[in-house]
């Protein structure tokens, strides 16, 4: 390890918090301690400034800029009207991209949510709950790139007659001697499902942890009272647990939808969008770095935003109604 790296690491660990703490003390010195309304506003300004400068530079300004770019040509030198958007909905390879995102949206979200809820409910009833939750959540802690490698290995394929080294093909061959080994990531009938399965494997833990926390928030007395009154476990689930959990389910579901729309890493690493598996974010990356069509890439980003805007509006409405802790 050379000294340059050590220095960078030290800057990273010590320098950044010190600078930030220094900034706030310095601003306080600047304002002084007098209790005046004007000073209160000035102080709030300093406390908010770093956050809003960064939000402005990295979110607000670029978003507006991208919307403008989406109406421009490939190298952003002239306006082309809606041409990029027309291409988005007419180009045949684009339509496959949109179809794939829709398939991801529906299957990934529903299955992840259902499995997460199921595991949260089941784990709640066993003594080794902590271990179960840790195991299921673990994939959430690793990168999509590592998960991509793990599952490429799981899906590994050797031609029929050869020894299968991929877990999935080997398992299926062992169960059924007549099984035809499948090249999961190359067979266009299975490759999208194979990719979505990786996503589900990773995100179920997230859904489970949040839903499980919601479950623990339901008062035990309520459930005990229902049991004493003779309610079955199923009735308790249907009449008490699920209704009380509904806001949490909505929050988890929304998070999943937002994340799945932007799905990128897993496709980039496992198939790079070949053989009919491309998705918006991966195609956008290609438009940027392979085709250098920044207009088209921007239009794709705007499409993502447009799909997400309803969620944004619901979030804001819910916040304004005071339900921000949902």
């Amino acid at each position: 390890m050379n000294s340059g790296i050590v220095w960078k690491l030290l800057t990273a660990i010590v320098g950044v918090p010190l600078i930030l703490a220094g900034y706030i003390y310095l601003s306080e010195k600047l304002i002084g301690r007098r209790r005046q309304r004007r000073n209160d506003v000035a102080r709030a300004f300093f406390w908010l400034l770093p956050a809003f400068v960064l939000i402005g530079v990295f979110l607000i300004y670029p978003s507006i800029s991208t919307i403008i770019l989406s109406f421009k040509n490939a190298d952003s030198t002239g306006f082309v009207g809606f041409q990029n958007y027309r291409a988005l909905f007419s180009d045949s390879s684009m339509l496959i991209v949109l179809r794939n995102n829709a398939v991801w949206l529906v299957f990934f979200t529903l299955i992840t949510l259902t499995l997460g809820l199921l595991i949260a409910l089941l784990a709640d009833r066993v003594k080794y709950e902590a271990a179960v939750k840790a195991l299921i959540f673990l994939p959430m802690a690793i990168s999509f790139v590592a998960a991509g490698i793990i599952w490429k290995f799981m899906y590994d394929y050797q031609p029929m007659g050869m020894k299968q080294t991929g877990t999935l093909n080997a398992l299926l061959s062992a169960v059924n001697p007549k099984y035809q080994p499948n090249a999961w990531l190359f067979n266009t009938k299975t490759n999208n499902a194979a990719l979505i399965a990786v996503g589900i494997w990773m995100w179920t833990g997230f859904a489970m942890v949040i839903l499980s926390a919601g479950l623990k928030g339901i008062p035990v007395e309520l459930l005990e009272a229902a049991r004493i009154d003779g309610a079955s476990e199923f009735q308790i689930l249907n009449r008490i647990t699920l209704p009380l959990l509904a806001p949490t389910i909505t929050v988890v579901g929304t998070t999943l939808v937002i994340d799945v729309l932007k799905i990128f890493d897993v496709v980039y690493v496992m198939t790079n969008g070949n053989l009919g598996t491309d998705v918006i974010a991966n195609r956008m990356y290609k438009e940027m770095f392979n085709y250098h069509n920044y207009g088209q890439a921007s239009a794709m980003a705007v499409l993502l935003l447009v799909v997400i805007v309803p969620v944004m509006i619901v979030n804001i409405k819910r916040f304004k109604n005071g339900g921000q802790n949902a």
Partner: protein
């Protein structure tokens, strides 16, 4: 307390089966990463325990020395630590202001934060990349720190504000009466009391940055000397093809730290989520 014995057996079988499905892929990777290269391509990882046992560290030493993974590990650290500390501290300042200070447009500004929570990162890539190119920040750690901070801020402000505004006002008011300044109140009272929320946020942000591919891929430009592990691994996938002995070792190296963080801070993590509704 609980009844119905046969259903309990079914319950346990189902739960254990689910655990198996979830852990076998990772387990297969871990075992394979210790197998010699000639065996990996010949037999499945489940045959690793047939005698004679043949395990090796060669894959790890190779990947760490020749495969850039050693340097990438350090790069991932250099990227992730400030990219976790910066947004949390900056967001905590803003959250404190939103909770305990009076200023105009307070509600409007916070509504904006709520709206920005869901803006796709893709909306920002091209203009930020062009900005970085102009400023010479492309390929620098500072650029990636700032980008991750900007992207992480709305959620961090939102989460911390919800937590900090529910802290007991009496404690903060009495500290003010005792003559404590805002920075003193913030660092000595608010931050320590917010540890559950900060811990959960820190875990989320750290894992997000550590595991991020897109931001590094775009703003770091893919040069090996600044590439974090995710970028290096995705390059390996493309160039090695079926070199499973190195891919498995590399993947496990990249998983090590998040797994340690997760297991050591797991309690904080769950408690932090629950603490969102705790009031003093």
């Amino acid at each position: 307390m609980r009844r119905a014995k046969p259903s309990r057996i079914v319950l346990n079988i189902v739960v254990i089966l689910l655990c198996l499905i979830w852990s076998v892929p990772t387990l297969g990777l871990l075992i394979s990463s210790f197998r010699p290269r000639n065996l990996i391509s010949l037999t499945g990882w489940w045959e690793a325990f047939k005698t004679p046992l043949q395990f090796t560290f060669d894959n790890y030493t190779h990947v760490l020395s020749q495969g850039h993974m050693g340097l990438s590990f350090i790069n991932s650290l250099i990227i992730s630590i400030p990219a976790t500390v910066m947004p949390i501290l900056i967001a905590a300042y803003a959250a404190y202001a939103f909770s305990w200070m009076k200023f105009p447009f307070k509600d409007g500004l916070f509504v904006m934060i709520v709206g920005l929570l869901v803006v796709p990162i893709q909306m920002t890539l091209i203009p930020v990349l062009r900005l970085f190119n102009k400023l010479g920040l492309t390929g620098s750690f500072a650029g990636v720190w700032l980008a991750h901070t900007g992207y992480g801020l709305p959620f961090a402000v939102y989460l911390l504000r919800n937590f900090i505004q529910d802290l007991p006002g009496s404690v903060i008011e009495s500290a003010k009466i005792d003559g404590a300044s805002h920075p003193q109140i913030f660092f000595h009272l608010v931050l320590p009391m917010s540890v559950p929320a900060i811990a959960s946020l820190a875990i989320f942000q750290f894992m997000w940055v550590w595991n991020d591919l897109l931001v590094s891929l775009i703003y770091l430009g893919g040069t090996a000397d600044v590439a974090p592990m995710t970028v290096t691994m995705s390059n390996m996938v493309n160039s090695y093809g079926g070199g499973w002995e190195y891919l498995t070792a590399a993947a496990f190296i990249s998983m090590l730290l998040p797994m340690i963080v997760f297991f050591t801070l797991q309690k904080y993590f769950v408690r932090g989520i629950l603490a969102g509704s705790v009031k003093g």
